[in-house]
Structure formats: C-alpha cells, structure tokens
C-alpha cells in the first residue's frame, strides 16, 4: 500500500475519533476529496520539477502514534531558546505535551489548535479564519487540512503583545519506525498587535519522519509579526512547510527561514497583500551538505497599491547537496507603486552541489519597482587573500567568509538570543571554530 492509499484509509479511522457534528468536519471531508483526486505532486508539475516525493511515498509511515510518548525537559533543553523566558507549545509525535508547554489566556490566547477547533468559545474566530487563506486545491495543503487536529493556536487581540516570544516545538521520539506528522497552526494578530514566534521541528533519533505542516497567519491593520523557522533536523527527517500569510493595511510580517539540516525540506511561503502600505519580508539562510535537499518556493501577491516586499535568500551548498529557490512575484494591475525586491545568492563549495534558482515575475501594473538578482559563485579570492595575509589559514578564512556571506541576513533577527543561537549553528555547520564566541 503506498502512502496515499494509507492516508485515505487512515482518514476514516481519524474521522471516527473526531466530532463529526463540528463544522470543521465538512472542511476536512472536502479537503480529503481534493487530496484523493490530486494525490501527491509529481516532478511533472512545474513547481515540483526539482523535488521528488517518490521515495517518501514508498515509506510505510505511521499516521498516528501508537502510544503517548513523553520527554524530560533536560533531555531536550538544547532545542529551546532556553536563555530567555518564552511561551511554549510543545508536541511529541504530534501529541500535545502539557508538561513541556507553557500556554496562556492572559489577554492573549496562546494555546492548542485542538481546543480552538472544538470549544464553542472559539467557534466565531474559527469560522472566520480557519482554512480561509490556506490553498483549497494544493494537494499537500489539503492533505493537512483533512487531518487538521493539533498544532498552535495564537490569537493576539487589538493593541496587545504577548509578554514574551512564543516557541513552537515538534519533537519526533523515534518510538515509531517511521512517522508522519501534520501539524496545523493558526496565528491571528489583530490591529496594532504584535507577536514573535519561533518554530522548530526536531527528530530525536535516526528514524524516519515526514512532517507536512500548514500555518495560516492573519496580520490585521498595523500588526507586526516576526516568524522564525529553524530547520536543522536530523538526517532522516523531511519537512514540507506550507505557510500562508494574509496582510492588511500597514502590517509588517517578517519570516526568517534557517535551513541547516534534514533530508528533504520544502518551503512553500505565500504572502497575500490585501491592503495598502504593507511590508512583507522573507529572509533565508541555507547551509547544506551530504545529500540534503532544500526547496524554497516563495510567492508574494501584490494586490493593492503602495506595498513593499523584500526577499533575501543566501545558500551555501557542499558535497552532494541540492537547493532550489523559486521566487514568484505577482503585481496586480491595481498594485501601482509596488516595490518588490528579490535576491538569491549562492555559493557552491563542491563540484557536485547543485542550486536551481529562478525568479518568476508577473507584473501587470506599470508604475512599479521590481528588482531581482541571483548569483551562483565561489568565494572572493581577494577577500581570501586579505584574511590569509592576517595569518588566518585558508580553511578557516574560507569558513569566515562564508559566515560573513550568510550573516547579513541575520541583521533583522530581533531576538538577540535567537540570533546568537543561529550564529552558533552557522559556525558549527561550517565546521570551524572561528576562535571566538559568536
């Protein structure tokens, strides 16, 4: 039985366990129908030309964990930004862990998707927002919608800001030989409200994990959202991250994606600008080796006038690693005075590493500024000589230059402890002690 068939049959069992009176039931059934019809995307589709899910579909993933697993904080502390106090939403093999989490309802709601979907007090909000910006026909998103049950639910009312940043952590214990996880997050940030979120998926063993995640983010007028994705998973972990962001007037949303690990990672990051004077920023650092694969697909849909978008993705690829950057920008006829910038710079260290980079601009307005640039290269010889002339050996000099190359993406990280952590991850990933604490 391949994965699609298994998912279809599992869906029936899943439905038996959830409340079918709930209106979300209909959403799930619709979504499942769509997935049944479309199945997994294949390499024949333009958007999946460089990323194959074939091998994953042949793996016999458990769709639900057979038992409830627990973890001790001390064993997983390193995966938290433990230097600072945060709200925490922690999931172990897809199941909420109350002892590792710290939720709140104090002025803001930082809690569980399962509560939001089932409790009547959230019904009004769920009716307005749930599955409203997520694609209704992209097959992996609809697959997630069909199985949507658990994840993070974050609601920040007008003029509020949580007292501390939020961490969303998904652990896979490896107690199953292989497991598929489908977290579903909903983030609503009302007018003048602000939130900072860090998300991480972490497999704790070498057993195989496939995560198909969907996050919907709604940023109302003047809202500010910082979302940080840390993708540094174990060698047998694959992640498909589908993020949909709806922005209203003068809102600012920044998404940083740090891709340092995992077997196969696909990021579908979609921004919809439904208002004026909106700012959307996407930044990424990718450092890969071995046979790792990361595919960044971004979409910015400029719908109304006077908005901006900024994309800056840096990639360093070694050994047999492969990368994809596909940045699509649509500027509607109405969206005059749009400023859209896109930059993708890559360094290939080994002859066998590959990057496929492609800007995709569809511009229907005539008074806009759109720029895009991509580079694929090696390190600057003159810079290398400069460092060597100061006594820094070639290998360390190379690492320092790569570090510098990746580093300028970090300037916009607004949580210093997170920035320090990312700096450390980058230095480790480059395999060199630079002689000082980053």
């Amino acid at each position: 039985m391949d994965l699609k068939d298994k998912l279809i049959s599992s869906f029936m069992a899943f439905e038996n366990n959830v409340d079918i009176e709930n209106p979300v039931h209909n959403v799930r059934v619709e979504a499942m129908k769509n997935f049944e019809m479309k199945g997994f995307p294949s390499k024949k589709e333009e958007g999946w030309k460089y990323t194959s899910l074939n091998a994953l579909q042949k793996t016999d993933f458990s769709i639900f964990p057979k038992q409830v697993n627990t973890l001790e904080y001390k064993d997983v502390k390193e995966y938290f930004i433990h230097e600072i106090d945060t709200y925490k939403l922690v999931f172990i093999d897809g199941v909420y862990s109350s002892n590792l989490s710290e939720t709140t309802h104090d002025g803001v709601d930082i809690c569980l998707m399962s509560s939001a979907l089932n409790k009547p007090m959230y019904k009004q909000i769920i009716d307005v927002y749930f599955n409203k910006i997520a694609s209704q026909d992209e097959s992996l998103t609809t697959l997630n919608t069909a199985f949507s049950r658990e994840g993070a639910y974050i609601y920040i009312p007008k003029n509020k800001m949580p007292k501390k940043p939020i961490e969303i952590l998904h652990f896979a214990t490896g107690n199953e030989a292989s497991i598929m996880l489908q977290p579903r997050n909903l983030v609503i940030v009302e007018e003048n409200a602000e939130v900072q979120i860090m998300e991480r998926h972490q497999s704790l063993t070498a057993n195989e994990v496939l995560t198909n995640s969907v996050t919907e983010i709604f940023a109302a007028k003047n809202a500010i959202v910082d979302y940080y994705k840390i993708q540094n998973d174990a060698a047998e972990a694959s992640l498909i991250d589908n993020t949909y962001i709806n922005q209203k007037d003068k809102s600012v949303v920044n998404v940083h994606t740090f891709s340092f690990g995992g077997k196969l990672t696909r990021n579908n990051l979609n921004f919809f600008q439904n208002g004026e004077y909106i700012d959307s920023t996407m930044k990424g650092v990718t450092i890969l080796g071995e046979k790792q694969h990361v595919d960044h697909h971004t979409l910015v849909h400029h719908i109304e006038p006077n908005c901006e978008s900024h994309q800056d993705y840096k990639g360093i690829y070694d050994e047999n690693a492969t990368g994809v950057f596909n940045g699509k920008i649509i500027v509607e006829k109405l969206a005059q005075k749009t400023n859209a910038f896109q930059q993708n710079n890559n360094i290939l260290i080994s002859d066998k590493a590959t990057i496929n980079t492609k800007p995709q601009l569809e511009i229907f307005a005539d008074d806009v500024k759109c720029s895009h640039g991509c580079t694929i290269g090696q390190l600057d010889e003159e810079a290398l000589f400069y460092l060597q002339s100061r006594g820094i050996p070639k290998k360390e000099a190379n690492a320092l230059l790569m570090y510098a190359f990746a580093n300028n993406v970090l300037a916009s990280v607004r949580i210093p402890e997170l920035k320090a952590r990312i700096n450390k991850l980058i230095a480790n990933k480059l395999g060199v002690n630079l002689g000082f604490n980053l």
């Binding site: 000589f385 060597q388 002339s389 100061r390 006594g391 320092l400 002689g435």
Partner: protein, 250 residues
Amino acid sequence: MLKINNLHASVDGKEILKGINLEVKAGEVHAIMGPNGSGKSTLASVIAGKEEFEVTQGEVILEGENLEDSAPEERAHKGIFLSFQYPIEIPGVSVTNFMKTAINESRKARGLEDMPANVMLKLIREKAEMLEIDRKFLSRSLNEGFSGGEKKRNEIFQMAMLEPKLAILDETDSGLDIDALRIVASGVNKLKSKDNAVIVITHYQRLLDYIIPDFVHVIHDGKIVKSGGKELALELEEKGYDWIKNEAVI
C-alpha cells in the same frame, strides 16, 4: 631582514615585475614610489604571497629563509604584514573578534596556546588608544561601512596588534585627510623599532613628511630605476615622474 633578488612576477602570462633587487635591514624604513601601473602594489602582493601572481624568476628571502613555498598565512606567521590599499569588508565579524582569530591563529602556528581573554582585551585597548580609535568602533563589523580613513586606521590597528617584523603599507595615505594621515603616521612611527622594518608604498610624497624614510626607491616598468635618500622623494614631488621615465629609457 628582507632580501629580494632579481624578482620577476607575472599575472595571466603578463610580466609585471621585471627584475627587482632590494635589501631592507632591521630598523630601516624604505619608501617605494612610482607612477600608476609601475608594479608597486604587485611587489607588495608578491612579498605577501598572493597566489594570483606567478614568480617566474628570482627570490624573496626573509631572515635567510626563501619564501617561495610559503602560503600567505605562513608569511604572516613569519612576521610579514601587508596593509591593504582596499581593505575587505567582513560583515558579522567585529574588529575585536577578527583580531582574536588572527592573533590566535598566529599563536597556534607557533605552537602557543590561545592568548588569555583578559590579556587580549588589554592589548586591544592599549593599541586602540594609541591610534585614537573609539571603543565603539571595535565592536563594529570589520570594515563594513567604514570611511576610507577608518579603513586605513583599522589596518594600522591590525598591524599594531600583530607586531610584524616587516610591515608593508600599500598606499596607506590614499583616502586620508590630513588629520587621519597624522594619526596613522604617528602610529607607524610608534611601532617602529630597531628590530623591525617598514616598506611604505606611495604615489605621493606627503606621507613621507610624517614617516621619514631612510631610503627611497623609484619603480618604473617593473624595475627599480633609481634609489636614494629621503631627498629623492622631494625631487620627485617637484619634478614629477617623467624625468625618471626619460632617464630610464636612456
């Protein structure tokens, strides 16, 4: 200290240095002057070991040791320092952290332990003070957004930290206003001792008002065509380079 014998060097098959002979002894300051494109900067890069240049003939000897097979970092460990005409920007690495890396790599090469953090900090503070460098400046990313003057001052700061035996200052005066020039020059003068040597490469005489050379050499078309004392620099300032070129042709 440094002996250069009949040095020929090419880049992409084009010969730039065509037989340079030069001897620099400990305690001396040598100025190398010459028109644009004469080979001044190439000579500096070749001494520092830039791989882009191919030495086709001759040799560079530092304290009796032929540097032929030494990588740039090895030359640095042996005591050569090159102040760049165009220092490179390294975002995300502060001046302080860069110096820590450079110093500890040199120490590692000499079989020494890392310099203790408090000793390092004291040294950094001392040298920064000498060059009138603000402490805030030290936590900025190396050369990123620095003005021309700040970049050059930072080069001399690095020289002060690394304490080389032989310092080569390549067009250190370009891009400096008179105040910055004075600070940079006084820094170099303070670092001068009977045990080290300085080669000042410059197009103009004005830096030599502050760093007084013992010898002045004029390069033209890849060769030293005239050598003399400090008065030669003044003569060049007055007459330009044309009379040297003409003399060379004859």
